[in-house]
Amino acid sequence: MARYSAFSILRNALSGQKNWQRAWRAAEPKSSYDVIVIGGGGHGLATAFYLAENHDIRNVAVLEKGYVGGGNVGRNTTVIRSNYLLDGNTQFYEFSMKLWEDMSRALNFNVMFSQRGQLVTAHSADQLDGFSHRANVMRLNGIDADILDREEVRRLVPYLDFSDTARFPIHGAIFQGRAGTARHDAVAWGYARAADGHGVDIIQNCEVTGFVRNGDRIVGVETTKGRIGAGKIGLAVAGHTSVLGTKAGLELPIESHVLQAFVTEPLKPLVDHVVAYGADHFYVSQSDKGGLVFGGNLDGYNSYAQRGNLGVVREVAEAAIALMPCISRVRLLRHWGGVMDMTPDASPIICPTPIEGLYLNGGWCYGGFKATPASGWCFAHTIATGKPHPLIAAYGLDRFRTGHTLDEAGVGPSAWLQ
């Protein structure tokens, strides 16, 4: 696989761009693989890459029902942070952050990881105390974090609403300087290309429609491209986890909900950080192309449709103006939705399953983009060794039965009902 570099660009420029190769082969399925990863999203592709890279398991296929990166990895608002509170989450997301910091070079694909810093505004003394608690935990786990007072926030992001008509005045903020964004598509393509470079087959337009059993073991999958045998199978289909889980006979604590995202017309640089509104549901960053990319809350009902409704569009716009009155005349260019695998404690599930040969990676809710590298790393380890990686010990299916739930927000099961 030819390396990408400034030099390769020069060389190709002179030869009229005629000599570039495919980023990954257009593979057709073999009759069987050591490992089949279902789902060509960020997590599935990363898993395949680390299976080869870390565990030298190369007879691997990634099966994607549509086009690689067409799921949530290709439609998310790309916020990457490691400001988690609870033991089990904190370390996992910080490990992920470290992998992000080296991803472009590890993959030889520029994923444009931009550590521009993320802040969340606080609107009362109590809220700021809560943020301080979080920041303290981060620092004590070796993660960068800062608490800003109102004036420090004003200096950093003067265009927020500091006027006296603000409905929820800004008291301060929590800030993580290493947080930021990355180019969503590049993450999918970068992992696909790197995995392909290790011999992994990336098979698009190949929907898994069922599982092949031998006794109580799963030994392969039925697909729209025929039956494919597998030693082990990793499930990484995000919003569709329940659909395939049910086919495999798993009973899962997951509901699929739609989350919308929004982008404005391209503008010259305006928002230099990731800014989140602590008084309501709105967060925003500016893509390198210039669009303000923002999001809000779930639409609030089970959905497998990749689109939302006008009510949430308006609520998000209201919150946007409440935080940033200056974007009133900026125009919304496009809005879309993605299907989210919501768990009762809003934390993910990565683990072996009761079914031999089947491994589960899902329940990422609206936070799984930032987890992509660590998830792939740990899931690959779990599939390769059959034992959960220590960093995902807390993400087992049985935690709901035992009560070891990880509820960062403390809203409980069916959080999305509130």
Partner: protein, 98 residues
Amino acid sequence: MLRIECPCCGPRDHDEFRYGGDASVKRPAHDDPDPEAWHRYVYIRTNPAGPHREFWQHVTGCRQWLVVERDTRNHAIAAVDFARKLRARKSTLRKSPA
């Protein structure tokens, strides 16, 4: 907006309602001591891509809890009724012999 036809208030935007999730899961009796039963009720969801029976409360209207049958792929609504009515119907069913 989803337009939900409340049996007593007529068709309304869904943001007049509070969503209550899967209505097909059966809540154990209040004094049912079986942890497994409660675990299933609180956590396990079939989460179908297709017809889904779900609770909605017309919270800014008549405040009644409704059961709506909606296709989660396209939001087409097949049926709406009062949760009480269905509950009552079910319990009579349960009483009837066989």
